[in-house]
Symmetry: C2
Subunit: 244 residues, 2 copies
């Protein structure tokens, strides 16, 4: 199924932007009267009929709609430190979108080697993976922030009713971790936030700050996982937890 | 931790091949008397002292060993159809190795677009991912075979005591599927084999043949996953099932 995206929907009229119009009209040779499917990126898929086959500004009339199309029964916010190799993060974003994620936050830790993150490129990857996996909602991507700011903004008093987890690799006094599986099995929350550290892990100070702010320390099992694999494993754990 | 690989261990002597010797002696500048760690690819890590620092034929004396190093509490055989884009399969092999897999079989289905698979390149990826994730055992890779032959070779009467699963996307008479999570929760087997189809899915004939030969039909949840994501999700489901 070929899907188009529009964030310009006005009543019964969907307007495609230049890129989507070109793909629809010039590349796929759709013409006035053809039926196409358009997602709004917020969760709804519209069945539409092309009313204007302009290759730089196509329009279509809505004839039907399906809310929460391809949705999942949880809300997952993955906050993952960018990897040294940008491809690996992009791969993780693509796979997490296929499986089911709602928000991705690139966070920069004390031990992060990569401190810059391009959200424009990330948005394109997320939209493409959303279309590929037949979902109506595109995961949102936040601008990069420091681990400290992320913890404080999402700490105790904010985001209550959300299960907040931080995965790190070290143990120590007051820093013992339980497995993500055990924590999910004990919880009844459907809203989950998981922090994953960089190649050099979170610093102990960051982990302490997170714990002091209501994040529960977890591990992802016995295997030694790369940052992007840890991010994906956390996503799979939530997906499988809610699988029937 | 830097790990080297040797499949030439004779009593207390480990011989490194040309590539590993070059990496150890020329690139990392290790010299006679240095301590290094060597895996045999079968599960054991050896602590060794270099006895010959020849950059094309290094040798080391074993001073200690650890069996089942970085092992996991299950035996997983993933039989996955090669993806059109070879990179995507390689990515899946790398990630499955990090998480924990024992055998990978490339299988060619009726709907497979890619019918050729390079096992030599796959072996290098598996070795590299094994070292990266600090494990002693390198997953083995089989030569490509057809889905039909794979089913018959591993069907009823062979591989008994192994939980055999086939994931496909269609439903139909006698073809209803249960989730991988439910099947794993019901089973007590530690030896698991999972078949994953190509982009165009298994044919109904292949699925029927598998069911007739003792494979249980499963699904991987509501999300529409690419072949390589399905392979990884199956691996994660097993990993998380055995997580404490």
């Amino acid at each position: 199924m070929e899907l188009f995206f529009s964030d310009n929907i006005d009543g019964q009229l969907c307007r495609l932007d230049k890129e989507e119009s070109g793909h629809c009209i010039r590349v796929l040779r759709h013409r006035k009267g053809d039926e196409i499917s358009i997602i709004d990126g917020l969760g709804t898929k519209y069945l539409c009929k092309i009313s204007k086959d302009d290759p730089s500004a196509a329009e279509a009339i809505i004839t039907g709609s399906e809310k929460n199309w391809g949705s999942h029964p949880y809300h997952l916010h993955l906050a993952v430190c960018p990897t040294k190799n940008a491809d690996r993060y992009e791969w993780m974003m693509e796979k997490a979108t296929e499986i089911g994620v709602d928000v991705i936050s690139p966070i920069i830790g004390e031990h992060s080697e990569r401190k810059i993150f391009k959200t424009d490129r990330a948005r394109k990857i997320l939209l493409s993976a959303t279309k590929q996996s037949l979902k109506g909602a595109v995961p949102s991507i936040n601008e990069a922030s420091s681990v400290r700011n992320f913890i404080i903004e999402n700490g105790t008093g904010n985001m209550d009713g959300c299960l907040k987890l931080i995965a790190y690799c070290f143990d120590g006094e007051d820093m013992e971790r339980t497995s993500i599986k055990e924590i999910l099995n004990k919880s009844h929350d459907h809203e989950i936030m998981i922090m994953i550290g960089p190649e050099g892990d979170f610093s102990k100070e960051e982990a302490h700050l997170a714990i002091d702010n209501g994040f529960i320390p977890i591990h992802l099992g016995e295997s030694r996982l790369r940052t992007e694999t840890a991010g994906l494993t956390a996503c799979e754990a939530v997906y499988l937890h809610f699988m029937k």
